[in-house]
Symmetry: C2
């Protein structure tokens, strides 16, 4: 897919071995910094530091910024203080805050005094927002314009500030109190006559978010309106940052991964499954597994309660896994459909009654189909009575499982909890216990009548 | 979050009721077309057509393009041919192809003759790519430059073409055979001295994809390298389109939704869960549910085979749900972790052995912990012998479930199938059958010895 760009790790190693400084520089200056970062990150930490020390600050920062945050941390902790300060000063404002937040306390205290006052303030301000909020993913690298500039003056300002800013394709128009008045794109500025005022060109019907808004809502707005960046304002309606499209994409991906893991009762992992520590992985998995063991006791207790019925009609046991699994599977389907729809904003909490009606229809149809499939088996193994019991149970447990599965995410969302907690294993455990009781209750009453 | 932008549906309805054309125009010209499209889409189809007919073609197209494709289809089918042709001509190249592909054959044949030759060719070319490929999501709305233009000439060309192009922030440099030579950003053009040649400014170490590449790989490249757009080339290395960041975000979201649904054995849904037809929803859910019913027969058969053991030690049944569910739950965790890691590219197929080693360690630790939790219960309910049987079974089934869960996605990927097919219900069904056999085999041999 990117054959032209493929730099070989061995080429890099030989350049490093022969101490070919010009070669190293050329290697790093050619191609996308993200691709180069991937190759360089394969080296040992001292070698990475060696390569970075050979190249100019701008390229060094770009390559460093594209590395995984774990690698950044390892490299940062071996750099000399002066080099680290230079690197941090040059990084984009949101990237450096992400790194800064990971630094241990003493490291932060070593770096801060080396930075200019404005940068120090910027880092402290950006790092003050809680994880998961719009504030925690925004950057302060954007261009602001005064509404009475002309298009020509505005373009000149964008040009001057371009080297330091993350994006110059949108500029934010603010008044003297930094209140957001509008947004204007470089495209509009370029197309307009040079003398036109920014205030005539800007779009003042803004889409924005507030610092305390959920980062997932920010990503959703950027996705829905195909934005390059979304302005973020604080309680006083002042512009304090922007979130760019690439960060929104990262957030959407990260949130999808978290929901995915939760759907199988795995807690939030701080990094890649390949890198995460085994002890942490154990801890993120064990909680729900043990909890669900105790949940399964209800099914066990249900079975124990109906021991006499089981002893009398041993053929019943044959159908037990099949019936309770079907309830769990139908319930998992419904839960997963709702969790994802709530996460993408496709469905909102007040849609519950509407969705419930639809679910009842579909679940009944599913239950009938599956009852048909198993009643033949029931006839074969235990005759007419068993067939009736099994078919009736199937319809009831599939409908019950589905309704629980689709309702639980809504309930959790209403309780301000994460709908993704309604994981497949949780739904399965609940449906199992319910299925055991429904099955043996029907069996006891119907078979004793025959 | 966007209070300033909130247009009330009732305001729109009253404007429509009083036939206030100026009011309707102002309504549609103010604010983001995406937000307006959402409000207008709430109306009945004839009313939507009524609103759209009142406003100028440019605004009409922008609003129309932001509606869901189902709404677009309904509106398109009631428009007069001439109006539909005008709309299709004005839409962005990728959006109109998506719509065109949904049209029934006779509708396509009505529209095509009304379009200019170049547009007709463009639609036919773009619509020829199979769903799911880079070609199917690319657009032909981009600016190309010749390498010997100066920066000033290039900016002038971008300005002239801006009204018709989806993005002017990157331009693609091609030779006389349309072979891609490099990419240059508007930022670089603006910063450069006006007389500098494009070929000196452009970045020739390109990141690109081929028309036949998977759309998910395209989205991954755009995300990894924080790109605004990715150029797409054909077999002859000619530039044929670009994929923009917003379309990449849509693809990533859509692929995550599909994987999510598959993880609970729901097939790919063509539209929102709120809108999709109930019959279709039924069909997308029933296949695996019925298949897994027959899968569960293995567990049932296993139980039936050990009927004598069960009759002899009835206390065994109490622990059955707990043990087989634990295996299924641990297996679902492992499968989900791997499915997501393979989807994001975090893990690649050749990592299997490495991941297997890690899994064995974590699963053994999980199995031991859970064995500890249940052995106390075993002691209470059935004495020392039962405690040993239950604990030993727990360790074995948790490890077996985990290894199956983590390996199946790799195996499916090796077989060119979707790893997400290793759904939680499938893993649960397999682990169940295995769990029944392991449990009763251990019980039969150990308890008979005591």
């Amino acid at each position: 897919m990117q054959t032209d760009l493929h730099h070989d790790l061995s080429e890099l190693k030989s350049l490093l071995g022969s101490n070919d400084v010009d070669g190293l520089r050329e290697f790093c200056d050619t191609g996308h910094p993200g691709a180069n970062a991937e190759v360089i990150a394969q080296l040992e930490v001292p070698e990475i530091v060696e390569v970075l020390s050979r190249i100019d600050l701008h390229t060094r920062t770009e390559i460093f910024a594209h590395m995984e945050i774990e690698t950044q941390m390892e490299v940062a902790s071996t750099l000399r203080r002066r080099d680290l300060v230079a690197l941090v000063s040059t990084m984009s404002h949101d990237d450096r805050v992400d790194l800064f937040k990971r630094f241990p306390e003493e490291m932060r205290e070593t770096i801060l005094p080396g930075l200019a006052q404005a940068e120090r303030d910027d880092i402290l301000k950006l790092s003050s927002h809680p994880e998961g909020t719009a504030g925690s993913i925004m950057t302060s690298d954007y261009v602001t314009l005064s509404p009475d500039l002309t298009a020509r003056q505005a373009i000149e300002k964008l040009r001057q500030e371009a080297p330091d800013k993350e994006t110059i394709y949108h500029a934010y128009v603010i008044d003297e109190h930094r209140r957001l008045l509008g947004v204007v794109s470089l495209r509009e500025l370029i197309l307009a006559p040079g003398g036109r005022k920014v205030q005539e060109l800007m779009n003042s019907e803004l889409i924005f978010a507030r610092v305390e808004d959920d980062q997932q809502d920010v990503a959703r707005l950027i996705s829905r309106y195909d934005l390059l960046a979304l302005p973020i304002i604080n309680g006083g309606d002042k512009l304090v940052g922007i979130v760019t499209h690439d960060d929104a994409m990262d957030v959407a991906e990260q949130e999808a991964t978290e929901d995915f893991h939760k759907s199988a009762t795995v807690g939030t992992l701080p990094s890649s499954i390949k890198e995460v520590g085994l002890t942490l992985l154990f801890r993120k998995r064990v909680f729900w597994l043990v909890l669900l063991v105790f949940g399964s006791l209800f099914s066990g207790a249900g079975i124990a309660y109906y021991e006499d019925t089981i002893a009398q009609y041993v053929a019943l046991v044959f159908f037990l896994p099949l019936l309770i699994n079907s309830a769990g599977n139908a319930g998992s389907q419904s839960a997963t459909l709702m969790i994802r729809a709530l996460a993408t904003g496709d469905v909102v909490p007040r849609d519950w009654t509407h969705m419930l009606g639809r679910e009842l229809l579909v679940a009944t149809a599913l239950g009938l189909t599956m009852a048909l499939a198993v009643s033949a088996l029931g006839l074969m193994r235990g005759g007419f009575g068993l067939a009736i019991v099994v078919a009736l149970t199937m319809i009831l447990v599939v409908v019950a499982g589905s309704v629980i599965g689709m309702s639980l995410p809504f309930l959790l969302s209403r309780l301000q909890m994460d709908p993704a907690t309604a994981s497949a294993p949780l739904i399965t455990t609940i449906s199992d216990a319910l299925g055991v009781v429904i099955y043996f209750a029907i069996a006891t009453s119907l078979l004793s009548m025959m």
